[in-house]
Subunit: 188 residues, 2 copies
């Protein structure tokens, strides 16, 4: 995680009760990440679903870490699992955990959510706007992506601060030097 | 990566020309991983596609590392990217890279393949046998999963040592103490 993030995490409230307030934290980290030139415009937070206690915040670190899997969701999930010393955030004895992220996860992070143990996924939006605004390839998802989550005990809460999230992607696009995705490696 | 893996990697040939020989390496690591009680029955290797030079081998480390994203494919991709100091294994100037894995990647690892920069994916098989034999939930994939890869410049080679892979899953199942997946965290 970038240096600025430690101070930001230390400054978080002990409890962040509403999903809107949690998404506001996520959007703040996403904005700081690209404004600080430390990664793409994506952040994700793991919170205790009922108490609102923040467990971990992750930001996109693909280029900085030289690792294509270092998306915000994978970072947040891994940091939370390290903090709680478990690979299953839904393990018996733990409070329910919620992942908040500033758009529907990409194909990889969608799968990472499935295996993380979180019981709740909060997204700012899930439509084509992210790809349309930024040009990031998000990869294919099953049309039943939300049903597949709920069938595994993971609720989906969509449309939290949707316009603010789109505004952030537009602000990123206005200053972005490059958008990396699978097609960059496409032959021909 | 587990301790035994370092010696195994050091013992690999400098060039492993055929996809069958590469899959045999993958199956050996997958078997050693569960027989050594260091993780699930999955391994993945990154090779230079044309020369057969092995770049990195990863094995499943979910329980050992306390990280639900530590699947074999993510491990192999991340180790190869670290070795080559790039988040894009398909970057200009690099030889084409191939990922070999002992079944079709799960929903998460499928996405990880998309963003890794590999130009080729070799799998032992892609049918329901893995889930049927082991009980692992692999998550939903688009029915166009292979087309979506080829459209992004990633060839798919299916059915390499398929029966050997199924035999390995049966051997795992015969000794497995627990199968962890999303449903373990399912309420009710």
């Amino acid at each position: 995680m970038p240096e600025w993030a430690a101070a930001e995490v230390a400054g978080l409230a002990d409890r962040i009760p509403s999903v809107e307030a949690r998404m506001r934290v996520v959007l703040r980290f996403a904005r700081l990440n690209f404004e600080s030139d430390t990664g793409g415009p994506f952040a994700a937070g793991i919170f205790e679903r009922d108490s609102g206690r923040p467990i971990a915040i992750g930001v996109n670190r693909v280029v900085a870490s030289g690792c294509s899997s270092a998306h915000a969701e994978v970072m947040a999930i891994s940091l939370a699992q390290k903090a709680l010393n478990t690979w299953d955030l839904g393990a018996a004895g733990l409070p329910a955990h919620q992942l908040a992220v500033n758009w529907r996860p990409c194909a990889m992070c969608y799968g990472a959510v499935l295996w993380s143990g979180v019981r709740s996924l909060v997204v700012a939006g899930s439509g084509p706007e992210l790809e349309q605004i930024t040009g990031f390839d998000e990869g294919p998802l099953s049309p039943r992506w939300a049903d597949e989550l709920t069938e595994r005990g993971i609720e989906v809460v969509d449309g939290i601060l949707r316009e603010e999230a789109c505004d952030l992607f537009r602000a990123f696009k206005a200053v972005a030097r490059a958008v990396y995705n699978a097609r960059q490696g496409r032959p021909g």
